[in-house]
Subunit: 233 residues, 2 copies
DNA sequence: CACGTTAATATGTGCATGCATATTATCTTT
DNA sequence: AAAGATAATATGCATGCACATATTAACGTG
């Protein structure tokens, strides 16, 4: 038995992981209580708890009070992806970033968003169209709606120097958000803006952020051809 | 000062969050040490530690030994997305799932994967082409390479009844993986297979999983038109 | 003054313990 | 026997303490 260092919580986590991987404990099976494991590893229950909590967080085991801990039947395949600020993403590629504001207007809430941005908001929505460049080549096209009820200060901002994204990140922290990714064919407009041929498959990301119950902003980002969003599990 | 319940670690986390959101502590600024906070909240240092650890995990604060804790300058926008087993995803939509194995062959490692599946593997790679259906309509097209050095048992499997994905999830747990998403235009083959017109923008997901240093499998999933991958922040 | 050594300090983590809480099993009561 | 009250139990969480470790600041020596 290749013993890992079993008196650190990470060590214990590794050992538990090994037992799950090696099917010492089958999927769905119950594993010993914290107290027993603590005794086996010769450590405090707190330490085992820490390890189990961590495994539960990553979805590998399911814990319920009184019911005990069991190995997850279908270990959900979770990936955490970091959505960077576009400027940083571009600069990380070693390219110079620039953005240009194509349009800034006060618009009625588009029908698509009536469900989230309550229709009662009337005209109080700021609409922004921005193009992000990497080394002077179009990188992503952004359409954004900002809820002025939630973020009235946005009215004063031109968003010409610093992008709306960065400003909002720093000034209107959100508590939760919905995110979705899709593929779409470039229409005439986006093809022109992103400098590609019509019909090209483009990667799109849509996001709505909220603070509490109030929507802050809706963004749709359409990336230039060839974009890949990467992540690790 | 709207006081939250400050003698639970979650309560303390909320209060700290509030101070960050309300800019009591500006981005980049140092926040008091655990000991001071513990005294202020009248709780044990451990409890404050727990709260701070959690905030650090979600990227809102940066912690360094001796250097202290400071509010993150650019709170990274992290999203955890769960990659479901296709069958479950389809069934969750209330549709009936079916898959069909289009091809099963032992192939040399494709050049694209030489970097990961070491070329020395020679022919020991199982290649699978699978089509997943939802209510008898194509849902996703899957191309997969399985490293038979790592998972020799796969040689015995036909993968006609249970899909390779499910079998691998249960029989070859991975320790890490690379994931990427992109958009592509349907070529003649994929258009035929997914029953759409050539050129349609399709959402694709690529994934390589490893156990330790040994690659297990590479999958490329191309979804039928209209697919959206959703997540929450 | 440059550079390596040492001390101070903030977080990281372990331990023993006790109580809280959710959930299940068991024991009543009707 | 069905329904409701009660006890048992496994995890969740807080406490106080001690020591480990990384990092910075201060110090001292050539």
């Amino acid at each position: 038995m290749a013993l890992t260092d079993t008196n650190s919580w990470t060590g214990i986590r590794e050992e538990l992981l090994r037992r799950i991987h090696d099917r010492v404990w089958e999927p769905g099976a119950q594993i010993p209580h914290e107290a027993d494991l603590a005794e086996e590893f010769g450590c405090a229950r707190t330490t085992v708890n820490r390890a189990l909590r961590d495994l539960a967080e990553s979805g590998l085991v399911i814990r319920k009070r009184r019911a005990g801990t069991r190995v997850a039947l279908n270990p959900p395949q979770r990936a955490t992806l970091t959505i960077p600020i576009i400027r940083e993403e571009v600069e990380a590629l070693g390219k110079t970033y620039r953005h240009s504001l194509l349009e800034r207007a006060y618009q009625p809430v588009p029908p698509m968003l009536h469900g989230v941005f309550h229709a009662s908001l009337g005209e109080d929505v700021l609409y922004l169209k921005t193009l992000h460049f990497a080394d002077e080549r179009p990188y992503a096209f952004e359409e954004r709606h900002i809820n002025l009820d939630t973020v009235p200060e946005a009215r004063q901002r031109k968003f010409e120097v610093s992008s709306a994204n960065e400003w909002l990140v720093h000034n209107a922290p959100y508590s939760r958000g919905d995110l979705s990714f899709s593929a779409l064919n470039a229409n005439e407009d986006t093809a022109r803006i992103l400098d590609c041929t019509q019909g090209t498959a483009l990667f799109a990301m849509e996001r709505i952020t909220w603070t509490g119950d109030a929507p802050i902003t809706h963004v749709k980002l359409i990336f230039a051809p060839g974009y890949r969003m990467r992540s690790t599990i």
